[in-house]
């Protein structure tokens, strides 16, 4: 009795308040995005806002269940939960339902479940468990490889479902690895690979090779010209050149024309106002038309005419921008930043490594969704179909984020019991 009481005493109520504020604002915007005069009742479950309301109600039950579970349960069964989620991911590849070209849904009656959403917290648990083992160090190559394997296995399975967006999110875990001591040079190498990759798509490969050669020669001028250094430098040059050629080859030969266009639109070489570019164009009009103070709740015209596709899911931020204007957008962004700060503070006050690392997993995942989703709607990020946490319509994603978050809040409430 005493213990369960202390759990609720130690719970971080500010975090929970921020969580419910985000959910409430999300629901208001879903209502606006779907709103039409014929279905006004908020409980109308034929409409998406009605369904979302049910999911939110279910969320409260979910939260209570998580808070009751012994916090040690999650660290003890971390690998088991991870293995189970991998099984589901394989299962959906084999038996899933195909929606808009990706096979990532289980259909149970009228309910669609997306296992990739739940893979995120499972991966977070497994990664936290692994990184918090005694004497663990990311300096060891073997540890690094195993960490990456934990992250990449579900990512690849999700990629195979043709759900690139959800797979890309797993990049977020790099931030956790960084916090836990991943060397800066690996980060730089990673960034170099991405830059080289983008450059290859943007300009002719021979120019890049030329540039690389020039860069190497300049570097050669500055470094000590020992045999070892020269050898190292030429090896790096050779590998980069090979990388450039293989990216080029892969792009031209392995991707379908549709995928090629999509990537070209993403990095801005091709203006495709009909395809991938269409959503962004419309989304920018909707947000821009909001002006400073917005058009007022339920008064967004862009919204009403269903002009922005997927406005209640991936493009929900359009409604915020259009109806609440710059003020509303500012508030929503501030709220997310505030929430992330709160979570960082919570993570840093953990005594157990497991809880801290898990906290950072939560932060990274929410942050990446925030970064990519809002970045996409305002034309700063490529169009990658992922939801805005707590805002976007959809039961799977709402539940997955809730589980992800509340496992951490539960760990946090337990922090005084670890001595």
């Amino acid at each position: 009795m005493r213990e369960s009481k202390s759990i609720f005493l130690n719970i971080d109520w500010i975090a929970i308040l921020l969580f419910f504020m985000l959910i409430l604002m999300g629901w208001l915007n879903i209502y606006a995005a779907v709103f039409n005069e014929e279905h006004r009742s908020i409980f109308d479950i034929t409409q998406r806002y009605g369904k979302q309301l049910i999911w939110i109600a279910a969320t409260v039950i979910l939260i209570l269940v998580i808070l009751i579970i012994d916090p040690k349960f999650f660290s003890t069964f971390a690998y088991g939960i991870y293995a189970l989620s991998l099984l589901f991911l394989i299962g959906v590849l084999l038996f899933g339902k195909e929606v808009s070209g990706s096979r990532s849904w289980f259909q149970i009656g009228s309910l669609g479940i997306q296992p990739s959403e739940f893979a995120k917290f499972a991966t977070a648990l497994a990664l936290s468990k692994y990184l918090s083992t005694f004497n663990f160090s990311l300096q060891k190559v073997k540890s690094l490889i195993i960490s990456l394997a934990i992250i990449l296995t579900p990512a690849i399975l999700i990629f195979l479902q043709n759900d690139t967006g959800s797979a890309i999110i797993f990049i977020a875990f790099i931030l956790v690895l960084y916090r836990e001591g991943l060397s800066g040079s690996i980060m730089i190498t990673g960034i170099a690979i991405i830059v080289l990759f983008l450059l290859t798509l943007l300009i002719h490969e021979l120019y890049i090779i030329g540039g690389l050669l020039l860069l190497s020669l300049v570097l050669l001028f500055f470094i000590k010209r020992t045999t070892g250094n020269i050898l190292k430098l030429s090896l790096i040059f050779l590998i980069s050149a090979l990388f450039v050629f293989s990216v080029n080859f892969a792009f031209d030969n392995l991707l379908s024309e549709h995928q090629q266009t999509r990537i070209r639109v993403l990095i801005g070489i091709e203006k495709d106002i009909h395809g991938a570019g269409y959503n962004v164009h419309q989304s920018k009009i909707a947000i821009g038309s909001g002006g400073f103070a917005g058009k007022g709740y339920l008064k967004g015209t862009q919204t009403k005419y269903n002009f922005v596709p997927e406005q209640d899911t991936d493009f929900i931020f359009c409604t915020v921008g259009e109806e609440w204007g710059f003020l509303g957008s500012f508030i929503v962004i501030s709220l997310f930043i505030l929430f992330l700060f709160k979570l960082i503070r919570m993570a840093e006050r953990q005594k157990s490594n497991f809880s801290r690392i898990y906290g950072y997993c939560v932060i990274s995942i929410i942050f990446f969704h925030f970064l990519i989703n809002i970045g996409m709607t305002i034309g700063l990020m490529p169009v990658i179909g992922i939801p805005l946490p707590f805002f976007s319509y959809g039961g799977s994603s709402l539940w997955a984020f809730t589980i992800l978050l509340f496992i951490f809040i539960r760990q946090d409430a337990y922090r005084f019991q670890i001595l």
Binding site: N36, E37, E38, E98, V99, S100, G101, L175, Y178, R179, E180, G181, I273, H274, Y278, K284, I285, I287, G288, S289, G290, G291, F292, K295, T301, Q302, Y305, F307, P309, G321, G325, F326, S329, F330, I333, S334, F336, I337, L340, F341, I344, E348, K351, N353, R356, Y360, I363, F367, F370, L371, I374, G375, I378, G379, L380
Partner: protein, 605 residues
């Protein structure tokens, strides 16, 4: 508690997050406050988005003859909540409907939604629209939307061209490009090349006032997206040949497939009975579709790719090729035949005995082929028919039977070449021998092939051992890629064996005992093989495969006439006429042509 060595990194993470927040806020400030292009005043109130439908790509035959073009039609839409009082009679007169019908339709629209547009009257012709368009301003709440109807200058090739129709919910869910009431290719070429033909929809943004009157373009059309017309495509079909073939097949059930061997391009794909594609367009469509659907002759079925038949004697060539390749047969091999007294399969012909391979093909001797087949099955190990069967099976699949080509022909069927497992399950393992499955020797039994596969087999022989998967694509735009999409397939049988078969098939047409000797052409040497296929449901199917000319062939074909009798009586003369037509441009043998054109094999059965 151990202090963590990397605690300072939290500041860097902190910094990254705040940086993203600041960038976002600056960007939003720019979009929402500084940048004027995206703002419009509140007085402009309603903006209306009008979907611009692109014109669908046209389809041409390989000589540039137009096969499919577009004609405009108009849908009348209504938004009940915007409807004000108006003269109902006036509108009814314009639309040519009764007041009762008007009320019915209006109630239905109201029931659907007060606010969303629904279709009031579908596909108003261009002529009617001319009157309506001018007066539409009198009827607020009613709009027209231009749509496209497909038209066919030639009343042929209905099945392979396919048709377009409104999208289903499943199709919308599968590809979010489509919105309710859009058109999509449903079958045939229209379906396979949907993405090429459809183009891209556009959008016009109009400003309208409270009475829904158009006040002009929003922002001088800056936000309009113009529709992109669909691309035209050229297909390999030959209109003349297709039309002639359809004529010859009139009042007969069956199919003709003609392929250009050197490229795999389909010159004609005929199924009979057929229908004029124009009857499935516009408002008459659903009525006519039901008529066709309920027709006992199944005119909607494309027999050329969905009909599966026992190949009969045409399949004897397959067995001979396998025998030659497996070295258990040579042109000099002699077998005896006792005519109708032969066992275990009786022969339907009387001829010299013993006879050699060429004579056996020329006269389609069952006894000879049974012995060839037995050798194939017992060859590697007389006690293990499975081993021999698998050798046979692999060769047959390699010759293009038993599986789809998966090119650009929707809805083709696999046919059926059973695996040895099937016989294990019917007769139990180790309880069957060559004798048990002897009907395969003469192309009967469990095997089923499509006319397309048979025509492709004719093309393989014409090419002496290879084929390009049969396909329709022949656009100049894609031309260079066509062979890349559908690369050459080399068969498992050596070219020299085909040379022998070619000579034997020439004998079928030109030899003094050849089963198709009545239909040889003076002007060109062509090769063929007849088939008469037993059919449990009625008279035999008449079958013929052929290619021409003998050297450097330009056409390979299969002809099947259902329930017609001997292969030599119907399929062979039709094939011969088509070859003459294709190679010479016109047919000189009018007596033969007249007989084929005027025969009615459907009502006489």
């Amino acid at each position: 508690m151990i202090t963590h060595p990397y605690t300072n990194r939290k500041f860097i993470i902190f910094f990254i997050i705040i940086l993203v927040g600041i960038v976002f806020i600056f960007r939003l400030f720019y979009l929402q406050v500084l940048y004027n292009k995206y703002k419009f005043s509140a007085e402009n109130n309603v903006i209306r988005y009008i979907t611009q439908y692109p014109s669908r790509g046209l389809i041409y035959d390989h000589n540039g003859e137009l096969l499919v073009y577009n004609e405009a039609a108009y849908d009348l839409l209504v938004v009940p909540h915007q409807v004000h009082a108006f003269d109902t009679n006036d509108l009814c007169n314009l639309l040519n409907i009764s007041t009762d019908e008007f009320c019915n339709r209006y109630e239905k629209a109201k029931k659907y939604s007060m606010y969303k547009p629904s279709v009031f009257l579908k596909q108003i012709s261009r002529e009617d629209y001319a009157f309506l368009g001018e007066k539409l301003y009198k009827f607020p709440g009613f709009y027209v939307q231009a749509r496209t109807l497909r038209k066919y200058p030639f009343p042929i090739a209905a099945h392979l061209l396919g048709y377009i129709g409104e999208v289903t919910m499943d199709e919308i869910e599968y590809d979010s490009y489509y919105k309710s009431r859009d058109y999509i290719g449903k079958s045939g070429i229209e379906k396979f090349f949907e993405k090429t033909l459809r183009g891209e929809k556009g959008i016009k943004v109009k400003v309208v006032d409270v009475f829904n009157r158009e006040m002009g373009n929003f922002h001088d059309g800056d936000y309009d997206i113009s529709a992109i017309a669909g691309s035209n495509i050229t297909i390999s079909l030959d209109v003349q040949l297709q039309a002639y073939g359809e004529q010859l097949m009139k009042n007969k059930k069956g199919s003709i497939v003609a392929i250009e061997p050197a490229s795999g391009e389909i010159l004609s794909l005929i199924t009979s009975p057929s229908y004029d594609p124009n009857i499935l367009v516009g408002r008459i469509r659903s009525h006519n579709y039901n008529l066709l659907l309920n027709d006992s002759l199944k005119p909607l079925m494309n027999r050329a790719i969905m009909g599966t038949y026992s190949p009969g004697s045409t399949f004897k060539i397959v067995n001979v090729l396998i025998g030659l390749q497996e070295n258990i047969l040579s042109p000099q091999t002699l077998y005896s035949c006792d005519g109708p007294e032969s066992r275990p399969i009786k022969c339907t012909h009387y001829h010299v005995t013993p006879l050699d391979l060429k004579e056996a093909i020329q006269q389609s001797c069952n006894s000879y082929l049974w012995k060839v087949f037995r050798s194939i099955i017992t060859h590697p190990d007389p006690n293990d028919p499975v081993m021999g069967y698998n050798v046979w099976y692999n060769h047959v699949l390699n010759l293009g039977f038993g599986k789809k080509f998966n090119t650009d022909i929707p809805f083709e069927l696999n046919g059926n070449i059973p695996e040895s497992r099937l016989y294990d399950s019917i007769y139990r393992k180790n309880h069957w021998t060559a004798l048990t499955i002897r009907s395969l020797a003469i192309g009967q039994g469990e095997i089923l092939v499509t006319p397309l596969q048979l025509a492709n087999f004719a093309a393989i022989i014409a090419n002496r051992g290879y084929y390009y998967p049969p396909h329709f694509l022949k656009s100049t735009k894609y031309k260079s890629n066509t062979l890349l999409y559908y690369p050459r397939q080399v068969t498992s049988i050596e070219p020299k064996h085909y040379e022998f078969i070619v000579d034997a098939m020439l004998e079928v047409v030109e030899g003094e005992h050849g089963t198709a000797r009545w239909y040889k052409l003076d002007s060109v040497h062509f090769c063929g093989k007849t088939g008469t296929v037993e059919n449990p449901h009625g008279k035999d199917h008449s079958m013929f495969i052929a290619f021409a000319p003998k050297d450097n062939p330009t056409i390979a074909l299969s002809v099947i006439v259902e329930n017609a009798g001997y292969g030599a009586t119907w399929a062979a003369p039709i094939a011969s006429l088509l070859i003459e037509k294709y190679l010479k441009g016109k047919v000189k043998r009018h007596w033969l042509e007249d007989r084929m054109l005027n025969s009615d094999l459907i009502s006489s059965n």
